[in-house]
Subunit: 171 residues, 2 copies
């Protein structure tokens, strides 16, 4: 538990959410629409791209740099689900820690406008677009975020909207 | 190339799409809205759940069976992105092979109505809900699918809609 709190305070300082050191976990009341959090850059290697794809998305353009030349991409590119998984790691790194963790209710509108290539450096921005109390439970609310993953050239490689449960402060 | 075609013919026979052995790759013209394809069951082990989460979704309820008891889930559960990645593998297995592979344009409305637990056996159903020629390119079209992942009790653990590029037959 001590470790959790230490990590949290680091993130609080890093992202300047306005919380004090006496606020170990964030609640809905600490957040506002329009807030942004960032993480990365996160390098993606060819070895990681191939290892992920062999396990989860075994298609030539994700698993074989030579065969990939004859595909629509013309080169090895990361599975979109690999990019999504890397985005999740950056979301965990970027977002202030909540009691109970980040539990997603739904994800909407994932798109991959450009491929991710070996050696790319990915960065993430999470923007809070909406915050509201739950209609079912007074102990929690729902946070809607827009998540954007960009490469080292500032080009967007993935976008998605997520709806995440957020705890509310005990009253 | 020979291996690709062999795999394809197996799938054609297994899922009875009405194609003959002379049709090595499927095109838009071979598919119809309402068609369903299935894959699985696919077992998910505790070791796989923890390995995926350590890499991509490092939160106690995905990485530590003991600490998970004190979380909202009360037990170790798979990251939703792990379930999504396993769904992609089953989509590759289930869907007749297309020239150029399965390239996703977008994914909409992912939800995880129930958690995936160690030992669960996951199955996938892909249902084609819409098929249309591309307005930009005469060489391809777009296929919309509803993808449902269920556990060994027939309960839905993930749903998502995907929009995938499909090649058209040369005319």
């Amino acid at each position: 538990m001590k470790i959790n709190i230490s990590i949290n305070l680091l993130i609080v300082k890093k992202y300047n959410t306005g919380m004090t050191d006496k606020t170990p976990f964030i609640t809905l009341e600490d957040l506002t629409a329009g807030q942004k959090f960032t993480a990365g850059p996160q390098k993606v290697t060819q070895e990681e791209i191939i290892a992920f794809a062999r396990q989860f998305d075994p298609q030539d353009f994700h698993t074989d740099p030579v065969k990939a030349k004859d595909t629509v991409f013309g080169e090895l590119v990361a599975s979109g689900w690999h990019t999504a998984a890397l985005a999740m790691r950056m979301i965990v790194e970027a977002t202030p820690k909540m009691q109970g963790g980040m539990v997603g209710r739904a994800v909407e509108n994932i798109s991959w406008p450009r491929p991710v290539r070996p050696g790319d450096l990915l960065s993430l921005t999470v923007e809070i677009t909406d915050l509201r109390p739950s209609e079912k439970s007074p102990a929690r609310g729902l946070m809607r975020t827009k998540n954007t993953v960009t490469n080292q050239n500032g080009e967007t490689v993935m976008e998605m909207e997520a709806v995440v449960f957020v705890p509310r402060r005990s009253v």
